[in-house]
């Protein structure tokens, strides 16, 4: 009872160290996210452009000494992982500066460190029982299921937004073309009539 109380007292961290964000990147702008990391920590991040223009964005990662770790231009989605060489602030930047009028919606998932245990007492180095190790492997499998669901959700959002844009464009173009047809049809006749009305006098004169 007391042990449980003490273990509760010791525990105060979140289960997983990672941040998932979906943000809008306006045109001609750059957005940077910073994370303070220790040495020899493995971090991985992946990003996807969900909507906007040609669905691409520039991305670069800079370490505390201003070295460029990753630099890609106009990518639709990518993932990158790295083990830190030094302690400091790592910067992940997305740039939409090449675009003149389209905003982009970018999804970013930045994970670092190892998953924290549920309870402090679970970090004991003694071997896990069969039940416990089954639970651990189930948990890892479910994590990958959730990750794959996120992937599909983003792809679906991307495709749905494209389909909605297509619908909009088809509607506007159809209406526009119909109006154009009428205008050109009637315009041609009027122009032709105007040619003959003016030249009627000269035609009579020449024949």
């Amino acid at each position: 009872m007391l042990y449980l109380g003490l273990s509760c007292l010791l525990l105060h961290v979140l289960v997983v160290f990672g941040t998932e964000l979906t943000f809008e990147l306006p045109d001609n702008e750059k957005e940077c996210f910073y994370e303070e990391l220790e040495k020899d920590v493995r971090f991985d991040f992946d990003f996807q452009v969900i909507s906007g223009g040609n669905y691409d964005v520039d991305c670069f990662v800079i370490d505390p000494l201003d070295n460029v770790l990753y630099n890609e231009k106009k990518k639709q989605y990518d993932s990158f992982s790295h083990t830190t060489d030094m302690k400091g602030v790592y910067k992940v930047c997305f740039s939409n500066e090449f675009s003149t009028f389209t905003d982009k919606t970018v999804y970013l998932d930045f994970r670092h460190g190892d998953e924290e245990p549920l309870l402090e007492s679970m970090t004991r180095s003694s071997a896990l029982t069969q039940m416990e190790s089954s639970c651990v492997s189930l948990h890892e499998i479910l994590n990958s299921v959730a990750e794959s669901q996120t992937w599909y959700r983003l792809r679906e959002a991307h495709d749905r937004i494209k389909a909605e844009h297509l619908l909009e464009r088809v509607s506007y173009w159809s209406i526009g073309e119909t109006i154009l047809l009428f205008v050109i049809g009637i315009g041609q006749v009027i122009m032709l009539r105007s040619f003959f009305s003016d030249k009627k006098g000269s035609l009579a004169a020449t024949t």
Partner: protein
């Protein structure tokens, strides 16, 4: 008594312990928005911590009290479900009632322009969704679960969230299918309509010009 006290202390620590989230810089009148696409009945907890650039010490210091952030959350129908002012460190939570894209917007409420002094505000943000919002030590203490029971509880929560996401996926696919079918219909009908208009206009032009030229005695 001892257990509830330690649980309360744990909760207090969990809340005050700064979240090691990603951070970004925000300008004085800038509004930063984040989108969370979530199924219904999903809880979202967001924690933020702000720091202000201090010219004298040349570093970021914990923000002065009085400098807060205004948090606005909109649901998929663009109806505001939360619009509140929080202090320099804050925690906001909401549960979605409709599935879809929720928008979480943050902007600082500073009225005194001098506070920023041309600098930027650093915001540490951490947003947790679904089963990640569960505080397992608290659950273990409240329901008196053993370690194994707690692990199984975590697995149950994960599976429940996966199921919600799958239901949401079904609803989204239906929307997508409706959009595609409407596009298909529109392309079909407009093509037929435009071809008819072309033919009718062509015939009308020929008839009109023929009668025009006959009237002008040129044909």
């Amino acid at each position: 008594m001892m257990l509830s006290l330690s649980a309360a202390l744990t909760l207090a620590l969990a809340w005050m312990f700064p979240a090691h989230g990603l951070y970004f810089h925000i300008g004085e009148t800038e509004k930063k928005c984040f989108i969370e696409e979530i199924p219904d009945e999903t809880m979202v907890i967001g924690k933020y911590r702000t720091q202000l650039w201090d010219k004298q010490s040349g570093s970021f210091l914990p923000a002065t009290p009085g400098l807060g952030m205004h948090v606005e959350i909109k649901d998929p129908d663009t109806k505001i479900i939360l619009s509140r002012q929080y202090g320099s460190d804050g925690r906001f939570t909401f549960t979605s009632h409709t599935p879809g894209e929720h928008q979480i917007c943050l902007h600082s409420n500073s009225t005194k322009m001098a506070l920023f002094a041309g600098g930027k505000l650093r915001v540490h943000l951490d947003i947790q969704v679904g089963e990640h919002t569960n505080n397992y030590p608290e659950i273990a203490a409240k329901d008196k679960l053993t370690e194994l029971q707690l692990r199984v509880r975590q697995l149950l929560d994960q599976v429940e969230q996966i199921q919600k996401e799958q239901n949401y996926q079904r609803y989204r696919e239906e929307r997508f299918r409706m959009t595609s079918e409407s596009t298909n219909q529109r392309v079909l009908w407009w093509s037929i309509a435009q071809t008819l208009i072309l033919i009718v206009t062509g015939i009308w032009q020929m008839k009109h010009l023929k009668s025009f030229f006959e009237a002008k005695k040129l044909v």
